[in-house]
């Protein structure tokens, strides 16, 4: 067990950091907010803590200040985009991610330009990271059980109905957007302080694909979806090592096929399995039936 842990520590770390970004995007999607902005804030968080810690700040302080400080621009962006729905919001936040990447490529003094930042002090331990992930998972679990969970559900299913039930739709959407951005920042910050390099390439379309893969493979139905998804996505390249040069192609194909043919991801598969075990005489449910 410990041997396995030692030899796979880097993978475990990236899976954990990725799962926080997964929580960020999953939270938004579950409330019906098509926001990919978390990925842009991932980069902002990473560059910010890398510079602060490089200037001699203590790690927890740097992370806390970064997350707190990005909430303000996140709120600004949320207010600008508050009237947008569905594809318009997806497009605008996608554009935001691309523009963050372009800024990162050009702002040499902070981001190291196209070369990126190297020798960022590695100050986050696996234990610390695990605690943060547990906190995020617990937060999501509590959030989805309580009043907020029901509000989010109602926002996703039918905004008009939600507002007729007294939910302040605009306000809740802004709230979700900002929390999602904060989680994105946190994920990027932890990631940068764990792997000691950060380049602009990491934060663009590739990361959007990765996080969507986390969401799709994990499933959006439950709090542990992003966690499961992040571990699958992190180990996938190892499993696909035989495919070598065609790894990207296969990963893209997996995203496409899962979202079309098995949309509930691992969460759906586990639920179907659980029903099967509980009631073995019934014929197995398809994923679609399990979802209903």
């Amino acid at each position: 067990m410990f041997d396995w842990f030692d030899s796979n520590e880097a993978l475990i770390q990236s899976a954990l950091a990725l799962s926080i970004l997964g929580f960020s995007v999953q939270l938004a999607l579950r409330a019906g907010v098509f926001s990919l902005a978390g990925v842009g804030f991932w980069a902002i968080g990473g560059y910010s803590v890398a510079n602060l810690v490089g200037d001699g700040w203590s790690t927890p302080l740097a992370i806390a200040v970064t997350v707190a400080a990005t909430l303000l621009p996140a709120l600004g962006l949320a207010l600008i985009l508050r009237r947008l729905r569905a594809l318009y919001l997806a497009m605008a936040t996608f554009a935001f991610v691309l523009i963050v990447q372009i800024v990162a490529l050009n702002w040499d003094s902070v981001t190291g330009g196209p070369v990126g930042l190297f020798a960022i002090p590695v100050t986050v331990s696996t234990l610390g990271l695990t605690l943060v992930v547990i906190a995020c998972a617990a937060g999501t679990y509590i959030w989805e059980r309580g009043r907020h969970g029901r509000i989010m559900e109602s926002l996703r299913e039918d905004e008009q109905l939600a507002s007729s039930l007294g939910v302040d739709v605009a306000r809740e959407r802004v709230k979700v957007f900002v929390v999602s951005a904060g989680l994105g920042t946190l994920s990027g910050a932890l990631n940068a302080l764990m792997f000691n390099t950060l380049t602009a390439d990491q934060a663009g379309f590739g990361l959007i694909t990765t996080v969507l893969m986390v969401i799709v493979l994990g499933g959006t139905g439950a709090w542990w979806g992003p966690l499961a998804g992040a571990f699958i996505v992190t180990w996938l390249p190892e499993v696909l090592r035989f495919a070598d040069d065609y790894r990207e192609v296969i990963q893209g194909a997996i995203v496409l096929l899962v979202v079309v043919y098995a949309p509930e991801g691992v969460v759906g598969a586990v639920r179907a399995l659980r029903r099967l075990l509980r009631n073995p005489l019934r014929k197995p449910l398809t994923l679609k039936e399990a979802a209903e």
Partner: protein
């Protein structure tokens, strides 16, 4: 000054061809096709692959790229979008899964593109199209630039007239309004969806070949900044509006060249994003729309 304007017109022509497909698939099918950029690159790479060993004329290369890109878009419709629409039922509820599927497709196509190019910029040999420079009224213009402008205007205006005037164009607009009633009236939404995706991909493929020749190189990742421009054109010109997209593409190109010439080259890609934000703040329905915006 007028030389800059000419450059802007050439750039705007490429943007027009690229953005038309994007706005068409969104306007008619409610698909934000993030694989559109990768399909655009596929056009350029098709040209690269077929001209690598054999000398072909541009009049063979251009249709070949058009067909390959168009078929890729159709494949995406058949493999992903149609099953999703069928399973989810509601058009708007299918938007997110379709978007994610298109991201997967983009990643896949970019991966294939990287294999084909060996992760290097590749070009189309000079023999395909001899570029020569002309002086017209004191302006320097190459025959390639003339070709780009003519092709873009011909295809885009042709499409605009087709959508507005022809029987199929009317069916297309009906589909955008209400797929269910379309079915009742004997228009096959499935066939129209395939036709729409083909046209969308084909336009991107043509743009891909033309841009590859204009910049004399293309990479598997070349589409990322272009997608941002496509978004700006859509927001500026209103979703689904062909005329809006044409005008918006040229406006964006003028704004961009203006920024590069008078302010700074590094702000070039920022212009598109700034336009998106300002428009969304003050006129989210786009500049050229007459109807109320409902979906955003």
């Amino acid at each position: 000054m007028s030389q800059h304007l000419l450059n802007a017109i050439v750039l705007g022509s490429i943007y027009t061809l690229f953005a038309l497909g994007l706005t068409l698939s969104w306007g008619v099918l409610n698909v934000l096709n993030l694989a559109h950029g990768a399909i655009f690159v596929a056009g350029g790479l098709t040209a690269y692959v077929i001209t690598k060993d054999s000398a072909l004329s541009l009049w063979v290369v251009l249709p070949a790229a058009l067909i390959v890109s168009g078929l890729l878009a159709v494949a995406l419709e058949v493999v992903a979008y149609r099953p999703l629409r069928k399973r989810v039922g509601d058009v708007h509820a299918a938007e997110l899964p379709m978007l994610i599927a298109s991201v997967g497709a983009a990643f896949m196509l970019t991966g294939i593109g990287t294999r084909i190019t060996g992760n290097q910029p590749v070009g189309i040999p000079d023999g395909v199209f001899h570029v020569s420079s002309h002086d017209i009224a004191g302006l320097r213009i190459t025959n390639l630039e003339i070709l780009i402008i003519v092709v873009a205007l011909a295809l885009s205006i042709g499409l605009a007239v087709f959508v507005r005037r022809s029987r199929h164009g009317r069916a297309l607009r009906a589909l955008a309004q209400d797929p269910y009633t379309c079915g009742l009236l004997g228009i096959s939404p499935e066939r129209m969806a395939i036709a729409t995706m083909f046209v969308s991909g084909a336009l991107a493929g043509v743009a891909g070949v033309l841009l590859t020749m204009q910049q004399s190189a293309i990479e598997a990742h070349s589409w990322e900044p272009l997608l941002l421009k496509g978004f700006a054109v859509i927001v500026l010109g209103a979703v689904g509006s062909v005329w809006g997209a044409i005008i918006a593409a040229y406006l964006l190109a003028v704004a961009e060249i203006g920024t590069v010439v008078y302010i700074s080259g590094s702000l070039r890609d920022g212009v598109a994003f700034a336009l998106i934000l300002v428009l969304l703040l003050f006129r989210p329905q786009g500049l050229f729309t007459r109807t109320a915006w409902q979906r955003s």
